[in-house]
Every structure is written in C-alpha cells, then in structure tokens.
C-alpha cells in the first residue's frame, strides 16, 4: 500500500476490532462493542463490473431479531459487509449473493458492552430534542466544514486537531468536493472511477470512499456526529458531473454510501446543502433520495435536508429533524420557535449566517452575534449551527473554516463551549418554550428550570415573574445572572418565593427584582430549590 502510508497509519490507529480495512478477506473478529462496527471482508469476483454485477447482503441475528445489511464492493476483489449491533450478546450472520463465492458464508461473534464515550447513534428524543441510543441527552452545538476531507493530509489533520479542541459535537460536511478553495488545494479523489471531469458512473472509486470512511471514523472517535451532505450545488462549473448523474446512478450512489457508512454510529444523512440551488433536480427527486436512504439504512440514522431559499416540506414523514438556513429567524430570542410548532420535530438552524469578513452578507456576523444567535435558538427549544468565513489578508484562495477547515479565527467557540456546558447542566429532556404564544425570551422546564435570555435588550433589572405552569404558592427558586459573552455565572443572593400574581403568573412574595448589568447578551438561569410543585396546564405535545 505504498500510496497511502498516512492513511494506513490512521486506519491502524483508529481501527475497530473488526475494521479489516485493506485486509482482504481476513477472518472477521470474534467480538465487537455495542454500536461499534462489525465488518466482514470476503474475497469475491473482481472481473466484470462488481459494482453492477454483484449483490451481497447478510442477515445478522441474535435469535430475537434479524437485521439484513447490504454489503459493498471495495475494490481488488474484496467485498465488505458492515454491521452496527444495538444489543450485546451473541450474534450470527449468513450471507446471500448473486455470486457463489460470496453466498452462504456464515459466522458468529459476541457483542460486548459499549466502551467509554460510546453512547450509540443519536436519535430524536422528546419530540424536539436529541439523545444517544443509550438515553444520554445529546445537546447539539454544530459547525460546518463543507469539504475538509478534500484537502491535503496535513490540512485535514489540522482540522481534526481544531475540532478536538472545540465545543462542536456535530460537523456538517459534504461527500463531494466543491469548487471553492480549489485553486491552491484541488481535490485529488473523486467518487467515481475515471477522471474527475470524466466520471465513469458505472464504477465507484473505492479509494475515495475509504478515505471518507476513515475521516468519519475519526470524527466518531472525537465524539463528533457527522452530518453527511449527500448532494450539493457547489460544483460551480459543473465540471465533475456530480449534480448531473442519471437517477439510477444517484440511487446506486446512495445505497453504496449507506452500505459503507450506515454502520458508523455517528452518521447523520443530510440529503443536500442548499438543495434548491441544485438546479438539475426537482422536489420529487429529493423525496426519492430520502426514501432510498431510508430503505437502505437498517439503523434509521437521522435524516434531513438543508435549504437555500426554498424550504423543503419537512413535514414529510421521512424527515427526522429540520435542518434550516434562515438567519433572520434567529435574530430575536425565541423567534425560531415558530418552526417547532409547524414541524413538531427538532429544529436545527444549521445556517444562521456565519461569523466572518466575507464580501457577502451571509458571512459577516460578529462573533458576538454568532453567540447571540445560539442563545436565541437555545431558549426557543431549538439548536443552532456555527461556521466562519474569515479570509486572511492576501489569501486569494479564501482558505476558510466553512469550506476547507484548518483553524478557527473567530471568537465564538469558547462562548459556545460555555453554552454547551449550560445546556448539558440543564434539563435532560431539553429546553422547551415556557409560554410560547406570549413570551419568546424564556425556555426551560416548567416549574423546574428556566433560561431567560434578553438578547440585545439591556435592561437594568428584571422583576421576578414566571408563567404559572409547574409553580405553586411557595415554590422557591435560585436565580443566576449569566453573561453569555464574558462567560460568567453570578448567583443572585437569597431565594425567590413564588406568590400568585394573577391568572397567568407568579412573582416573588417579597416583590424582589434582579439587578442586571445593562449589557448585551445577558441571561438568567432560574432553578427550583424547593417548595411545592404546581400543575402544568399547558402541556406541549407529548408531555
């Protein structure tokens, strides 16, 4: 393997017990951890066109259930089947294929308990939120590096190092290369055989996907979810033919990537970035991609699609959560909440505009405003995404985090780490709007926990007053003042004791207010310390 010394090294460093990559037809491992990737490698025919001619699948069974998984051809006569078991214990497998050397193979292995930090794949939880399969809440703080896996190895390693030191637990990234930033770092791998500009749609390029597998695995090992963008409109000159595949090739591509990466627990499927800017496809095509992916993926990984200027119908049943671009919906605390009621699914504003100094206004946010928008989304019971576009003086190639990765130049990341800590210290079930038709600035869990965010308002004080749900006469609360930029949490001395004010709200029995610093970006954290719990009359769906 002289071509990929770094790659091989990385594989050895990160390989799962049974990863088997580049170990053709080696015996499969006898153990794998729960939600790990169990891989079977089989030697099979290399003649003809194995991508088209050969089908391979395996049934995995633990006696209680059977999961059928598609295999894939990985070049050089090697076929692989990857499986992510969701329960511990003994599993057996049995293959089916259109070719004799690959059929009726069988084996067994034992699934051990997950290792530390492995909580399984992320799922929708409590309608509007996320949790890992083991029940651990997943508090999303996302970022985007569209095509970091198409850069020189040292840049890719730098991106991983940056991520490792960042607060981000989800990364949006494209499978395909993009035109932007290619002047100094042109892509060297393409998903199909043939030249990059003359793709042979009948054959995949295993090397391309092996590299992608590796990078996705590295994200997994950093505890980062990979929101993998399957199509995009960024082949600006349409030279690579990746937005003009015939439908049967599109479907084969989708099934191939699901077969390769579905067994990675940190995979999320994003059908596209700015899907409506892909001018070669109709909405019916996007519907179809969802259905193809859904049918191919036995694990039900999260599925979404991200808009340019036309919002997809996220009410479609195959959409698990909403991935949005709309900066204006995040300018005011709570505004984004409107989308929750519309879709009844988790809302992730993956693009609330970007930090940066770009000539275009979609990447001109100050770091403060980026942090503000995360808070504005958080207290609305939704999630936000970060990225940045800081062009360095004299850098004609515009090597920026959004496109290529590398290093972060903005100042939001530490503040987002601070926010993530607050989110993780908050209600396990997530933050929901408290009085959503009337007061946009407060989210939490009625009677227990409140985050009140003033955004760009700079009040000098706040009179203790909370909506009735979950509160009774005598419920007591502790209040802290949070400076979201300075990253300080200042307890307010003394306890607040709830006293009914009117039909809708409770105030402090002593009429106390909270003094505020009169600055931008101030929040309150209010937690119940004791006293009776009140009734919850306005239950959100699912409560």
């Amino acid at each position: 393997m002289p071509r990929f010394p770094r790659f091989l090294l990385a594989v050895l460093a990160f390989a799962l017990p049974a990863a088997g990559q580049l170990r053709a037809a080696a015996p499969a491992a006898t153990t794998v951890e729960q939600w790990g990737t169990y891989e079977i490698a089989l030697q099979g025919p290399a003649d003809g066109n194995p991508f088209l001619d050969v089908t391979l699948r395996a049934d995995f069974s633990n006696g209680a259930k059977t999961v059928t998984v598609d295999g894939f051809y990985d070049g050089d006569g090697v076929y692989r089947i990857r499986f992510m078991p969701d329960t511990t214990g003994r599993w057996t497998w049995f293959t089916h294929s259109t070719r004799w050397p690959l059929t009726q193979k069988r084996g067994a292995f034992t699934v051990t308990a997950p290792s530390k930090g492995n909580h399984g794949p992320v799922r929708v939880a409590n309608f509007y939120h996320f949790a890992y399969a083991d029940g651990t809440p997943f508090k999303q703080i996302g970022t985007t590096c569209y095509t970091w896996t198409h850069r020189p190895a040292e840049v890719e390693e730098q991106t991983l190092a940056t991520l490792a030191a960042s607060p981000f637990n989800k990364l949006r990234m494209c499978v395909f290369p993009q035109t932007h930033g290619t002047s100094t770092m042109p892509p060297t791998r393409f998903p199909f055989a043939g030249e990059g500009t003359k793709p042979d749609y009948t054959r995949f390029n295993p090397e391309f996907f092996q590299h992608l597998d590796k990078r996705v695995g590295q994200l997994r090992d950093l505890g980062i979810e990979c929101d993998l963008i399957l199509f995009h409109p960024y082949d600006d000159d349409h030279i690579w033919g990746l937005d003009t595949m015939p439908p049967d090739v599109e479907d084969r591509y989708l099934r191939y990537i699901v077969a390769r990466l579905g067994a990675y627990r940190n995979i999320w499927w994003s059908m596209a970035n700015e899907y409506d800017f892909v001018r070669t496809k109709t909405e019916a095509d996007w519907d179809r991609y969802f259905r193809v992916v859904q049918a191919a993926d036995p694990y039900g990984h999260l599925r979404s699609i991200h808009n340019g200027k036309v919002i997809y119908n996220h009410n479609q049943p195959w959409v698990t959560h909403v991935s949005l671009q709309n900066g204006l919906a995040t300018t005011d605390p709570g505004k984004i909440q409107l989308y929750r009621d519309v879709y009844r699914k988790p809302i992730v504003v993956d693009e609330a505009e970007y930090e940066g100094n770009h000539i275009y206004r979609w990447a001109q946010l100050t770091s403060r405003e980026m942090v503000h928008r995360f808070w504005a989304c958080t207290i609305a019971g939704t999630y936000a995404g970060h990225s940045e576009f800081f062009v360095q003086p004299g850098d004609a190639s515009e090597f920026v985090w959004l496109g290529q990765g590398g290093v972060l130049r903005g100042e939001s990341a530490p503040r987002l780490a601070f926010l993530r800590k607050i989110m993780e210290d908050g209600p396990a079930t997530g933050i929901d709007p408290i009085d959503k038709w009337w007061e946009p600035r407060v989210g939490g869990k009625p009677g227990e926990y409140y985050l009140w965010y003033f955004g760009h308002e700079k009040p000098a004080s706040w009179t203790f007053q909370l909506y009735r749900d979950g509160i009774a006469e005598g419920t007591t609360f502790a209040v802290e003042v949070i400076d979201t930029w300075e990253m300080t949490i200042t307890p307010v001395s003394g306890e607040f004791v709830a006293k009914k004010k009117d039909r809708y709200s409770f105030v402090d029995a002593a009429g106390r207010s909270v003094a505020l610093p009169g600055r931008d970006g101030i929040a309150l954290r209010i937690r119940r310390t004791g006293g009776p719990a009140g009734e919850i009359s306005d239950k959100p769906p699912g409560y």
Copy 2:
C-alpha cells in the same frame, strides 16, 4: 309559513332568480348570472328517511364540460340541486337518483354575465394571495363572529348592518351553536332533527340549514366572504352532541352542507376553529374531513383549518391556505413571514389575539395593537383577522362581537378600512417580502412599490435605502409617510433618485433621508415614478 315571516321576507328580498326556497317543485328559472346560484327544486318521496334513503345528483353541461352536483333533501318532499356556473352561455341539466320521481329530469338555462359586484368565488392567486375568479384581487380584511346566526332575528340583523358599514370582506362563522352567550340568547335551531340535546343523527333539520343558507346569501350580497367553520370545540358541556357524531354522520353532514352551500360563491370551508381543542377527534379525522369536503365540492372552494395550540400540517395538499392562531407571530413587523416559506400558501392569521377587555389575555389587545398586527402581517405578505371581546359593564352574558355579533365597540375598524384602501391601491399581485432573509419591515413589489412599516419603533428619520431587486441607477421614487392610526398619508416633497450603494442596496443620489414623526405605527409608502427598472435576482417561487 307562519313560523318565519321575517325569513320569508328575506328570501324574497335576496332570492336569486331561481332560488326557489320554500317554493316546492316550482319550475326552475331560465337564466342565472355567472357565479350565481341556479337551483332546481323537485318534488319527491317524503316517506321513510329521505336523508338516508335517497340519493340525487345532476349533471350540468355546457357542451364543453360537465359538472356533477349532489342534490339534497330540504324537507316536505322537496329536493333541491344547486349549481354555480362558471361560464356564460347555455347549460343543460339531467338528474340521476335512486328514486324514480327524481331521476331523468332535465332542463336548460342560460347563464348571463355577472352583475356588478359579482366577481366569482375567491381563489388562491400568486401563491400567497387571493383573487376572485374574474381576476379581481381580493385583499382580505377579516373578522370573526362565531355564532351570530344563532341569535334572535333583531340581533342578527344588527350584525349584518354592522358588517355592511365595516371594512370586513371576510367573516369567520360557525355552522353549529356555541355555549358561550347562551344564557340570554339560547340557540333555537339545531342541525339535526330531535331535541337540541337529543339529536337524531339520521335526519337533518332543514329549517336550521335554510336559515344558514339565508345568512350566507346575505353576506354574499354584502360582498363578504363566508369562512364557514364546520366543527368547533365550543359545546362546553357536550350537551348537543355536535362534537361526538359517529364518523358516518360526520361525513353525511359534510356532504349535506357542501350540497347546500357549495353553489354560494362566497363560501370558504374551514374544517374547524381550534381543531385540536376538539378532544373527540384525531388528526386522521381532520384529514378525512378535508378529503370528504374536497371530493364533494365541484367548485374547489377554499379549504383551511384553524388551530388552538397544535398547528395542523398545512402542507397537506388539500389545504388551500393557512388559517392560523398565533398572536406572538404578529407582534413584530414581518415575523409572520416565516410561515409563508414553510407552507408556500397564503397565510391568514385569523386569530392574532383580539381587541377587548376580557379577563383572558387572548382578548386584551388595545385597538392600536390590533391595527399594528394587521400592518405587521400585511407587510410580510400575509393577512390578518380581527375580532373583539368588549364586555359591557353588568353584562353577565358577555354579549360580544366575537361570539354573538351585534355592534363593534373597538376603534380598529376605521383604521382597518384605511389599511384596506391602501392594500387595494397597492400591487394587484399582492405584497410580498422584499428582502425576506434580511429585512423584515418591508414588503411590496420589487422596484415598483414598497410598504415599510416601523411598528413600535419610533425613529425620527429614515435614510432612503432599498434592496437592489428591481432598481437601477436613476430609478426614481416618491415617498409618503403614513400614520396608520391617525389615517393620514403625507407626501414627502421631491423625488428620490436611486444610486447604487453597495452589492445589496440603493440609496438616494443626494443622500436624502425622510423625516418621521417619531410616533408608534408609522409606515412609508414608496412608489416608483420613473427611471429605468432593475433586474430581479432574488425571485420568489413562481415569479
């Protein structure tokens, strides 16, 4: 007809040429105007249960097309078929029935041009807007009187008189009575035979529906669209059984009311008010009602449903436009725009809270705030709805416009008339957001017409600056300052000449600003007066 002298009078006064109401089996008229109601009355069996036993329909044909219309039993052995022709010229009809006396009847008539003020039924136009069938834009200024047709005749007449003098061109109203306000004005008619509290679900009460027909016809003659609410949750004690019909009765009721009222050009179908508060039904039921109505209605009248706290999936294909309750979405100019992109249908906030002095906060708006919310919706390219709940001192029955009709006590109506005039003087295609991802306060038609609304902001001046779409160097504009409450329109002297400022916007070549009065509720109307037109780069869907 000794029981209904007023009714009969009204019928005679308002009857169409072929209305035929209470004229059993009279010969049908020979002419009807386009979008009028052509009615055929036939004598048939009165024995057994005609509502269940007899089906009747007629094919209407003008040679080019055939429209099949269901008839209905109207009591006393009289069966009626009503038809709304959409083209002028000669039409013929031919009946089909399960009973001999009603089948193979035939006739012909001539459809004449519509009379003055008859523009046909209202349809969706330009994706987000409405127009009558003849192309005349319909600029919706709605109000709600839920159960005004269940009141004493003099109160109902008073309601009609109030409406006649009002700006409202759409009225939301319920078919069924509601509990509220019944202490002094109990309902006297119920849709089913039997006692009100002991409905015989197998038989309709023709008298109930005849009364409804009459009132809907009177609204039509006042130029008011009737947004007819087919179910509601306001039978507080569930004594009338109107929210607990078996499914077959629900479907029969829907088909019956469509057969009766589908030929009224001013009908809109609203499946429910606060549909999710009807605790006896599931979302699948609501889907079904839509489909039953859609299948029964040969004219495709507008169809919607109105939410309590759970928003219906308005992306369903049978929803023609979105009828919303969400006051908080209307507090800031343009905020409501988010729903446009989600549904790609007209958005009507039928309940943006109400003017009033109610003990509940959903009816405590000041008149100024009511007007503000209409403006906040209008410039977002959406529509709003009015109602009010002003309880008079000592009125234990709470006789208010929202429930019972009568008179208006708030101060918003003249301001809404002022707004309607501005809307009707505006672009025929409707007001759309101009720069929707960035500037919520302005709507209009790019390069031609802008309404900029400051809401509760009170700036002392506004620097002329408009988004690039439709503008070129040298495009000239006239600016007017509108006081939405004082109902004044003050022209700003001189012309504004567009000069490119940056990638996104044009300013005035002389750098001029507009002085503003520094009050609440100020808007600008900016209209192109000359100069070149610019390109439109950010085209909304359908442009």
